[in-house]
C-alpha cells in the first residue's frame, strides 16, 4: 500500500473567487514544489479547467483528479471527484443545465476563465458559478453512480455552505463514505452529534483559492497504486 500526500480541494481561476494566479500551470508547479502526490481541481459547479491541469501534470509525477465543488439547491457544497476526465466533463455538462442562469458580473465576483495548458484564455463561463444548482443534496449520490464519481460533503465543520450548517445534521440514511473537515480537531465533537460520521473516512484539504494556500504534504491517503483510479477507489 502506498501513502500518498494529497490536497483534493483546489480552486483554479475558473472559480470567480479563485485568484487570477490559479492558472493550471501554476497549480501543477506549486503542487510539485509542495511535494504533493495527488491533487484535485474542484471549481464551483464546473470542471472546465481540469483537462489543462491533467495535461500539465503529465511531466511531473503528480496525479490529478478531475473534480468539482458542486453547490446543491440547499447551498451545501459537495466535492464530486472522478477517475476519468470524460466522466467529469459529462457531469460538467449536466450541471451546466442545472445552474441558475445569472450572468457573472466580473467586477463583483471575479473572472471565470477557462485556461489551456499554455496559460491562454480559451473561454469564460458566462453564468455565475458560485450559485446554487437545481440539484438536491440527497440526489448527489445517485448522480455519482451514474457519472462514476464519488461525493464528499465539503468542509462540514464550517458554518456556511456545509451540510451541518444548512441541513442541521447528517441523516442515518446518508449515502456518502467520505467527508471533508476544514479542521480535523473538530472531528470528535462532530461524531458525538452525528454518529454517521463514525463510519466515514475523513479527509482534510486546503480549499485553496490562492497559490500559497495549497497544502504542504501534511495529509495522506492509502492507495494501491499511484493512479486516479486507485485514489477514487480509496475514497469509495
Amino acid at each position: 500500500m502506498l501513502k500518498l500526500s494529497y490536497d483534493l480541494h483546489i480552486h483554479s481561476c475558473l472559480s470567480p473567487c479563485g485568484d487570477d494566479d490559479m492558472l493550471p500551470s501554476n497549480i501543477v508547479g506549486m503542487a510539485f514544489l509542495k511535494n504533493l502526490d495527488v491533487i484535485a481541481v474542484t471549481d464551483h459547479n464546473s470542471c472546465k479547467n481540469c483537462g489543462a491541469v491533467i495535461k500539465l501534470a503529465e511531466q511531473y509525477d503528480l496525479v490529478v483528479i478531475p473534480g468539482m465543488e458542486l453547490c446543491t439547491m440547499e447551498e451545501v457544497h459537495v466535492l464530486c471527484l472522478f477517475a476519468h476526465l470524460s466522466d467529469a466533463m459529462r457531469f460538467d455538462e449536466y450541471v451546466s443545465t442545472k445552474l441558475l442562469k445569472i450572468p457573472n458580473d466580473e467586477r463583483v465576483f471575479g473572472k471565470q476563465e477557462i485556461i489551456d495548458e499554455e496559460d491562454q484564455t480559451i473561454g469564460t463561463e458566462p453564468y455565475l458559478l458560485i450559485n446554487a444548482t437545481d440539484i438536491s443534496f440527497d440526489e448527489v449520490g445517485t448522480l455519482m453512480k451514474e457519472f462514476n464519481g464519488v461525493h464528499i460533503p465539503a468542509h462540514i465543520d464550517k458554518n456556511s455552505n456545509s451540510v451541518l450548517s444548512n441541513l442541521g445534521f447528517i441523516s442515518p440514511d446518508a449515502d456518502f463514505k467520505v467527508v471533508e473537515l476544514a479542521n480535523l480537531s473538530h472531528l470528535e465533537e462532530l461524531e458525538k452529534k452525528n454518529p454517521y460520521l463514525k463510519q466515514c473516512k475523513i479527509i482534510s484539504n486546503s480549499d485553496a483559492h490562492m497559490l500559497g494556500n495549497i497544502n504542504e504534504a501534511i495529509h495522506f491517503i492509502d492507495c494501491e497504486e499511484r493512479t486516479s483510479e486507485q485514489v477514487i477507489k480509496a475514497l469509495r
Binding site: 438536491s136 451541518l164 444548512n166 442541521g168 445534521f169 441523516s171
Partner: protein, 111 residues
C-alpha cells in the same frame, strides 16, 4: 389560532394535512439554516422556510413546530412528502416570499 384555521384561510396550498391540526400556533418563525432553526425555533411555531429537504421535517419534529410553510415556490421531493405523511406533519406551500408568508400568519394571529 390553530393550524386548521391557517389551512382554512386558504392562502397557502396544503401539501400535507398532519395528524394534529387542532394545535395552536404561537408565532411565525423564519430561518433557512436548519442548524440554527433546530436550536432556536420555539415550540408551536409556524415555520416559514425555503428549505424543502427531508431534514426540514426532522427539525420541525425536534423543535415541535406546529406546521411548516414552504415559501418562494419551494417544494418537497417524493421521499420528503412520504416522510411528512408518515410523521403527520402539516406542510403548506406558497409562492410568496418568506416575509409575506410570515406576515400573513402574524396578522392572522393578531387579528
Amino acid at each position: 389560532m390553530k393550524v386548521i384555521d391557517l389551512i382554512q384561510a386558504g392562502t397557502f396550498e396544503v401539501v400535507n394535512e398532519g395528524d394534529n391540526t387542532q394545535r395552536e400556533i404561537c408565532a411565525p418563525y423564519c430561518c433557512d439554516l436548519l442548524s440554527i432553526a433546530m436550536g432556536k425555533m420555539r415550540a408551536d411555531s409556524a415555520w416559514v422556510t425555503v428549505m424543502g429537504n427531508i431534514n426540514t421535517l426532522a427539525v420541525a419534529t425536534l423543535a415541535d413546530a406546529s406546521c411548516i410553510i414552504l415559501a418562494e415556490g419551494s417544494h418537497l421531493d417524493e421521499a420528503s412528502l412520504n416522510k411528512a405523511r408518515e410523521q403527520g406533519i402539516t406542510v403548506m406551500a406558497s409562492e410568496q416570499p418568506i416575509f409575506e408568508a410570515a406576515l400573513f400568519v402574524y396578522n392572522k394571529l393578531n387579528a
